[in-house]
Amino acid sequence: MSENASQSGVVRRSQTAATGENVTRRRVLKSLAGITAGILALPAARMCKAAVQNGLASADSPPGYDPTQHKWLMALDVDRCIGCGMCVEACQAENSVPQGFFRTWIERYVIKKPEPESGKTRGETVVDSTNGGIGGFKPSAVAKEQILKSFFVPKMCNLCEHSPCTQVCPVGATFDAPDGAVLVDKNYCIGCGFCIQACPYGCRFFNPETHTADKCTLCYHRITRGLKPACVEICPSQARIFGDLKNPVTDDPLQRFITNNKVEELKANLGTGPRVAYAGLDEVVR
């Protein structure tokens, strides 16, 4: 086999000798082409980059608003929620949330009286949330005489300290903003759904219009302008409290609320570090 190789090599060398001028011309043309390509490469590269980057918008940080100067948080007072569902409607209108999906919602818990002689403190718990609470709640299927206790619980993103949702995003499209909000970059999200699976609270959903993950943004576009989130603004009974942990304690409604009430978080055992504080929660709430 090595014989074959040297034979063909000999053949090639003799061919080159016969067509010497052709080889020189070929070499010059080749190097000219190379130099031209090199000169054009850099501006061509820059044009390509610009075309690609335009697809991924790039803008400066919010003018006049410094995300590192705030730490937003919400608290929920279960004893003050009357289940009117106005917050859910307000959120839907404010954020164009698609029908059938919810950035916030209200749950109604109806705990039945225990069976007599059963030795239990309570009977069955019936939970419902028809259309997330939009339009209010119709009377419960459970008869009034059977009810031990009943209450409404507003639900939303729990603004976790160790968000499992941002931990699992493969590309960095969902993140903990420096000011406490947990946001989704819908121009970067690939729509894999990992974050939606990872949230224990059910607060994320796959938006059928943007084909990305979607969730409560704490009305980021409002709070960065000094307004309150839509749900907080519209709630008629002060069940939702919004504030900034970087404010002095006495000035801030949220910090006052946490100081004056015993509060609890949802599913604390999972270690997600949920920061949204609930006052008046019952053991049956998940």
């Binding site: 803008a59 109806v110 009305c219």
Partner: protein
């Protein structure tokens, strides 16, 4: 160095170079500004126009009503909770917001075993058979 190894090393270097070149084009410029995400996203999300004006906006023109409200039981309410979105009215104050029906009142005040006890609630059918709650209750000062 055996020819296989040389070829493979060259190929590997080529692939790695192609990867870093691709990164130069495809990683957005603001990526990594605050963390592992596009810093520009914060501005994009914040750029959305707010929908609800908020009570403070109503206060700029309707000071008297807001002050009256502030002294009564409905003091915690936002104007838009009952009056609906004020967008059209804020744009052009000549435009009046739609009239509210009594279902707005019933929405919050219909009695329910799930509602907390501090709320004034009535079984509307037993309380009043008309459909104009404002016959007896001024919404801005509801206690009759």
């Amino acid at each position: 160095m055996p020819p296989q190894i040389i070829r493979l090393v060259l190929l590997t270097i080529g692939i790695v170079c192609a990867y870093f070149m691709a990164r130069y084009f495809l990683v957005p410029p603001s990526f990594g500004e605050y963390g592992h995400y596009r810093g520009a996203a914060l501005q994009e999300i914040a750029n959305r126009e707010p929908f609800w004006a908020g009570r403070n906006t109503c206060d700029t023109c309707h000071k008297e009503i807001v002050q009256k409200l502030a002294k009564a039981e409905h003091q915690g309410l936002s104007c838009e909770t009952c009056h609906g979105p004020s967008e059209a009215h804020v744009k052009d104050p000549e435009v009046k917001l739609p009239q509210m029906g009594y279902d707005k009142c019933v929405r919050c005040h219909e009695a329910s075993p799930s509602r907390p006890k501090w709320l004034h609630q009535v079984t509307v059918a037993d309380h009043y058979t008309g459909n104009v709650c404002t016959e007896c209750h001024d919404p801005h000062q509801p206690k009759p």
